[in-house]
């Protein structure tokens, strides 16, 4: 990489050295993530054990998620619930007009996203599916990515699959999208020249500076981040990762991020949906 200045290359190297080196804190204080996961569902899985990001977090953070009332992410679940039956758009309909009770009609649905959309000839993720309903049946304006409404509805729908195993399918027309996502996962990016895999595959369970690296699973998204004190959708988190390696991020809801989301969902296949999870 001749165009990368030496000091940046050194910074990247330093980060990985830090990741491998024991952190200043006592090893006994590290979250014990091993043994909390599931056996990979595919023989091609890169993991011996597939572990939710929950077990890479501190006991205080885990406790905050454990109780539905303590978990501040449930504010969004409740907002989503209200939006579900609120009429919006020229058709005068709400989500409930077509889908009735989300607790029954949406149970398990979100766990299978991103999903192939025959009409569009490409996969859509949950946010895109919600907006297809808005511009279609509801004749309403699609919600912009990152708006509290879209994130709340996504959170509410994901929560209807809470505890159910992630069930994305990657065969048939999804295969090229899976492959594209996989290529992006291993693609080194940015001035720090790091791929998703550099941290979340090769170095999970180690410290990157002050951060205890997880497997980068998506089963808890949108997550309530302690840092942002609000719900953060998956594509915003991916944007953040790309900024952290000093790359220009792909746009939320872009084909690249939908492909990556598909591939990441496959890496966590079978992990229970935790939305809204609590993360650092």
């Amino acid at each position: 990489m001749p165009s990368v200045p030496l000091r940046v290359a050194l910074a990247a190297a330093a980060i990985l050295v830090c990741a491998a080196a024991p952190h200043a804190q006592d090893a006994s204080e590290r979250p014990a993530w091993q043994g909390h996961g599931i056996k990979p569902q595919s023989p091609d899985s890169p993991f011996e054990e597939v572990v939710s990001g929950l077990y890479f977090r501190s006991k205080e953070t885990q406790a905050m998620q454990a109780d539905d009332f303590n978990n501040p992410g449930f504010l969004a679940v409740e907002q989503g619930q209200e939006l579900w039956s609120k009429a919006d758009g020229a058709a005068g309909k709400s989500c409930a007009s077509c889908h009735n009770e989300a607790a029954t009609s949406m149970k398990g649905v979100a766990a299978a996203y991103p999903k192939w959309n025959e009409r569009l000839g490409k996969p859509v993720n949950l946010e895109q599916r919600i907006n297809l309903c808005r511009s279609g049946a509801l004749k309403a304006e699609p919600w912009a990515f990152g708006t509290p409404e879209l994130t709340a509805m996504t959170t509410y729908l994901r929560n209807q699959s809470s505890g159910m195993p992630g069930a994305v399918t990657v065969d048939g027309p999804m295969t090229p999208w899976f492959e594209r996502g996989k290529a992006l996962y291993y693609q080194r990016n940015g001035q720090l020249d790091l791929a998703c895999a550099s941290c979340h595959q090769s170095n999970h369970g180690k410290y990157l500076r002050a951060d205890f690296l997880s497997q980068g699973q998506s089963n808890g998204f949108p997550v309530y981040r302690l840092r942002d004190q609000r719900l953060v959708p998956l594509h915003e988190r991916m944007e953040g990762c790309m900024q952290d390696v000093r790359a220009t991020p792909y746009a939320p809801l872009s084909d690249e991020f939908v492909a990556l989301e598909t591939y990441v969902a496959w890496r966590g296949l079978g992990l229970p949906v935790e939305t809204p999870a609590v993360r650092n």
């Binding site: 804190q25 501190s58 205080e60 941290c199 990157l208 500076r209 981040r225 840092r227 004190q229 650092n280």
Partner: protein
């Protein structure tokens, strides 16, 4: 006869030499915060000397993120009309503003409260509890706030 006790003296007695040392070493922008907390402590203690004990702060040793740190404060008090804790004040002197929160209790409440707070950096968090007889108790806990990495 004891002269007017300055804040540092009171706090050293209250929370141990570690706090006093931290404060003594503090300089620069933290000065404003320290002066503000001096004022807050003076108003709260009403001249009483805080005694270490009775009030207990529970905080993580290492905060996963300083923006949301779970905190519980408990006071040993009978919580009867005769004897109860009136108020507990929480201060974070490493924050730009030291005031965090004050809880007011009555004989109809239990002397215990939990909330989530913001800590700008690694620092000591101080709890002061004033009983209905005017006596003041204190506790202090250091919280390491990690900055950097992808979570920070």
């Amino acid at each position: 006869m004891r002269h007017a006790i300055n804040r540092r003296h009171a706090l050293a007695l209250a929370t141990g030499a570690v706090v006093a040392t931290t404060l003594a070493l503090r300089a620069g922008p933290a000065h404003a915060a320290k002066n503000a907390s001096d004022e807050a402590i003076k108003a709260f203690t009403r001249g009483k000397e805080p005694v270490r004990g009775k009030v207990r702060l529970e905080l993580p040793e290492i905060a996963e993120n300083g923006n949301t740190v779970p905190m519980t404060v408990t006071v040993e008090a009978p919580m009867t009309e005769e004897s109860f804790v009136e108020e507990v004040m929480i201060l974070a002197e490493g924050n730009p503003n030291p005031g965090v929160i004050s809880f007011r209790f009555t004989p109809s409440s239990v002397a215990e409260a939990n909330t989530r707070i913001r800590l700008a950096e690694t620092q000591n968090v101080i709890a002061l509890a004033r009983m209905n007889d005017g006596s003041v108790f204190s506790d202090v806990k250091q919280v390491k706030v990690t900055i950097g990495g992808c979570g920070g």
